[in-house]
Symmetry: C3
Subunit: 480 residues, 3 copies
């Protein structure tokens, strides 16, 4: 990592540097040894939601609240669960609205910080304060103002501009996520900029593949305009995808991403698909039609991936915007997405029947249903050449969640059908600590295998490096 | 705890006092330190099935078998699974039937006690023998008679009367559970009695909300008589609930409880609800109608809770009386209730859409489907102000069950969307040990977080106290 | 174990003998002590897929590849998942095809051996190399040829013939599995042979109970011929089962086994069953008919078991041959069977309503859906006298899988509603290590209970012996 005024994780030192390692001396020593061998490796962040504008314009972040609190749905949900209104935290507040008091929001967060005990949010926030801002005091109502001031002051310094942080974080590769109708303006700007930071886009076409999306038809019309295709015909629609994927590839994309309510895939004939497409455009479709349409688009995406080489990600199983009242008031991404039971063994079959045994397809699966790890996901990824398993996602991007993933997946799928860690975050400042947590948990898991004499120490060193660095680069085709 | 001739848990001493703590010296020391800070806190028992008659009349318990064996469905089920007939154990035997040999039943239990190795039943029984009766010998066929005699003798002593035990157990608050048509006679008697023990009722209206209940219509007729309402009309039925809830509040109730096969809720118009009500009263309803009716009553109960302040509990997911043969022979509660997969994310939506974001509703959810902890329950309770998670229930009220609960729930819902421990038992003598087990497991979990540097020791002390004492009092509105 | 040139597990010595024991010194010491008390107990293998021909003819195994690699679906699936073609590994290659290079296949396996890190396959292979062949070098591309040669040479020695290995492995009882239309020729030969090794058959009638089986009707015709019954009538079909079961009993069988997609049972009248049978024979049946027919046969099997005393096993929940492309190319058992969510609480009810409370039925349940352990299986087996739980199966026959089984099952079902270990394998050489893994994990689990003061050391010694030796003998009626 580059030297800077920022207290980067590698400089944190002290006994807190053993956090997340096993309690017992023997396993702890082994875990630490493994960790030391990988902790300085660069960060590969192949899936996430950072805003490319930050890096394209490199403007200073505004204030602690709008940087660390208001956009963080983990924080919003917990505070709301204890009756804190989201407006108070800046949600739904127009930018620059002078009635909104950012410092007061910060105080409320601090006063309720005890709610986060035992959660990864507390871990992330504590480590961001400590390692990025050099704050070692406990965060609470009494320290809220002082900490606010330290952060606010720091954000004015050049070392805390987005690009400087990106460099000090030792990020080698960062993928953002854009919709099928995004103009990629900031990615264009980054392409033209001599700054060497590698920030790429990811093709996420949900707004033109999911008929439940608001403005679905309007999106498709716009999709046609952007690509010069008649996107209201099935063949034009497919061609529009092909062209947009090329656009995204031009802006660095190595992957697509698909966030559907289920993992359902379908394999219709062109005629059936055209008829279904017209139905979902008509506004007279049923929920089943919508599901089938989404399902068909996944198989089309797989087919295109075989042509253009984009890695395909599926993030299924979230019941989005569970509370209509809150959605009406505040819109998406405020913490009201709830996991639901998700079937893979039947849902993926149409796609797998077609492409599952082709090793040149790379399809990375995620889940919000941990019961699928040992029952369906590891057995599927452990046999189909096209499948790999993404890391524990969202609610399970946590120390215990990560450990459950390794314990349930490894014995059937091994390490080499997994793809390393994703931070999957828009909380840019937390990227180093999130990766650090994953590295530590993996080392703790490996230390356990070594102590049970199930893995040699030499192999453990190699696996640690692979999980941290080699697998994500390979799985996401970072080097092309 | 009060001093008495009884060997209470705090006096047990010796090395067995480390039971359930982690094996390793470091974690064990921390867990013990946390535990020492809370072990003498009074017991809050906000949900259970003790008989109010015990405390109202304060008569001596009859004998070891009818106190400790015959009513304990955990014991019955295991013994039956190895071919012991339930009659032999006193089930279905008329009170005072001289043909039944209580001592022989006790011996059979003792001879088969090896079946319980590794189960919480063994833990509870061992601790009851040791800490309540001062028996340190192993329970087995050879010691069965001697132990029977010690207990039988003790039960004749004044210190073993229900009220004396209640006091020596250091119970601050004990809730029993009564049906909507119960006359609350013993609670009335307790109200009028100067004895200060706080024993309250809980409103459990399943016999008038679940059309699958035997005598459903007769119950509703009785319900109308008790409340002076025309309970066969929907509006009269609702008014009868309102009045009965007030009755229960007069007898100390702070909560309602609902034991349905699923967590389904519904939000019908008054007209639809009236029509449905008439249908389920007609005897011509389908299973779906019955499900929808139960579902609608949950939403009505939530609405009433917002008016009268009663905390609402839902205990869903038990397939009651799985064996029709055994139900016909012996009736309910003999160990034949089996958990089933339970959905919350869709089932609770109608109720949550209506009341979920209202922090003045307190709805405590339970589950018999552990897969829901991390997938649905923690995410729901971690965002909806109205929801809290009840402790591990029934089969999971066990050391490993409790640890799984904390490990799967905490990272998403934190500690403060949970409500502390419920013993949920009719086995009065086991109440102290059940709470002790929960305290020990929580301290073991907290010690783990401290050692992983995820929680400061100061915070751990505070959380330990909150989980043991403050959260149950607050969640169940024990102080009004 | 008998003394021989083979490096048997008991002679392995060295510090690797602590493999799979807990990392911490205290628990490790206890686990080892428990293990020492049982490690020399004979192997009871009551369910598996060894070929009786091996023992009937006692011919030398051909070569390392056809013995250890080609028939092992765990190995095939992982190698295929990384793009290794199954032909290269000898799958679908005609016996004696000179174009197939067994040594080259072995090399490819060795070069890809890193894929198996952390899997039980690595554990099994490493222990087979070490304890059966005395090979202590790491298996990899560089050692592949040398190791191939050592094994190939050993296989020519008399001590490596099937019977000699059987003896040196200290196997007391080995059950194979044959279909309802098998001629049992090799079992006949074994019966007539003075060699004392006890190798028995198991009645697995899936090919005449599952209408989805290829050649279902032809199988039933053959079934009728073998038994001299009109097996195309329902009563003749049932009589054919009765007679074949007697045949199997003559060849040592103590059990039946049923591998169905679900655990569904049915309890039709004879008339309904006859009509359903004719429908599934007609070729005009629906998928639901097929399911119902399989379901009915399970209840018939239970009824017959009550007559002839055969223990009944159900192995449900595998989606067999998930990839039609691979099935068409290579047939069954190449690693493409995928677990699916499995219900027991409703599915088993028809059978349990009829026979569940009869202690003279012994029905052993398995699962590929670990969520059922604590939710359905332990509660069911913990109350129904007819039910017992089989050990962790297939993907969960692994150290972490076994630990999850004990942790989720024991608190509700205890140890004595489980039946000890099954190796369930056709990989004969791995039988000792598979049993050794189960013994070690059980001892590690028991050591944990002892250290948490939930089990006395005396009881732990007894339980360890019961799980290893007494329970499988009793549950499978090995002594009649």
């Amino acid at each position: 990592m580059s030297k800077s005024a920022i207290n980067v994780i590698t400089a944190s030192g002290g006994d807190e540097s053993d956090y997340l390692f096993p309690a017992e001396a023997g396993p702890r020593k082994l875990a630490r040894e493994l960790y030391e061998s990988i902790r300085q490796l660069p960060i590969i962040s192949p899936h996430g939601h950072c805003d490319p504008q930050w890096f394209a314009t490199n403007e200073a972040f505004a204030d602690p609240t709008s940087l660390l609190l208001t956009p963080d749905h983990y924080l919003l949900r917990m505070l709301h669960s204890h009756g804190v209104s989201l407006e108070t935290l800046g949600v739904g507040v127009a930018k620059g609205d002078s009635a909104f008091d950012a410092r007061k929001a910060w105080r409320i967060f601090a006063e309720n910080y005890y709610l986060f005990r035992g959660t990864p949010s507390e871990l992330w926030i504590n480590q961001v304060l400590r390692t990025v801002f050099g704050i070692h005091e406990s965060f609470s109502g009494t320290t809220a103002d002082a900490i606010y001031d330290v952060i606010a002051d720091a954000l004015k310094q050049p070392e805390f501009r987005p690009r400087a942080l990106f460099e000090s974080f030792n990020i080698e590769f960062l993928a953002t996520t854009e919709s099928a109708t995004d103009d990629l303006a900031y990615h264009k700007k980054l392409l033209a900029d001599p700054w060497p930071g590698r920030i790429v886009t990811t093709y996420r076409p949900d707004n033109v593949t999911n008929p439940q999306f608001e403005d679905f038809k309007e999106n498709i019309v716009k999709f046609g305009e952007i690509t010069g295709q008649d996107a209201l015909s099935w063949s034009g629609y497919l061609e529009a995808h092909r062209l947009r994927r090329q656009d995204f590839i031009q802006h660095g994309a190595t992957a697509t991403d698909h966030g559907h309510p289920t993992a359902q895939t379908e394999n219709l004939s062109a005629e059936q698909a055209e008829a279904l497409f017209q139905k979902v455009l008509s506004g007279k479709q049923s929920a089943e039609d919508e599901e089938q349409f989404r399902a068909q688009t996944l198989t089309e995406m797989a087919r295109m991936s075989l042509d253009d080489g984009l890695v395909m990600q599926i993030h299924p199983g979230s019941y989005r915007d569970h509370s209509p009242e809150m959605f009406a008031k505040y819109g998406r991404d405020i913490g009201f997405d709830i996991p639901q039971a998700t079937d893979y063994v039947h849902a993926l079959k149409p796609l797998l029947d077609q492409f599952g045994n082709d090793p040149s397809l790379s399809l990375i699966l995620f889940t919000l249903d941990e019961t699928a790890y040992s029952r369906e996901l590891a057995p599927l990824a452990g046999v189909y050449p096209a499948l790999k398993l993404g890391p524990p996602w969202w609610f399970y991007d946590s120390p215990a969640g990560m450990m459950r993933f390794r314990e349930r997946v490894t014995e059937t799928a091994g390490f080499y059908n997994t793809v390393g860690f994703n931070d999957d975050t828009r909380a840019f400042l937390s990227i180093p600590v999130r990766h650090d947590v994953a590295r530590r948990v993996d080392c703790a898991y490996l230390a356990g295998l070594v102590l049970e004499q199930r893995l040699s120490m030499d192999d453990a060193f190699e696996v640690a490096r692979d999980l941290t660095y080699e697998l994500p680069k390979k799985a996401y085709r970072v080097d092309g």
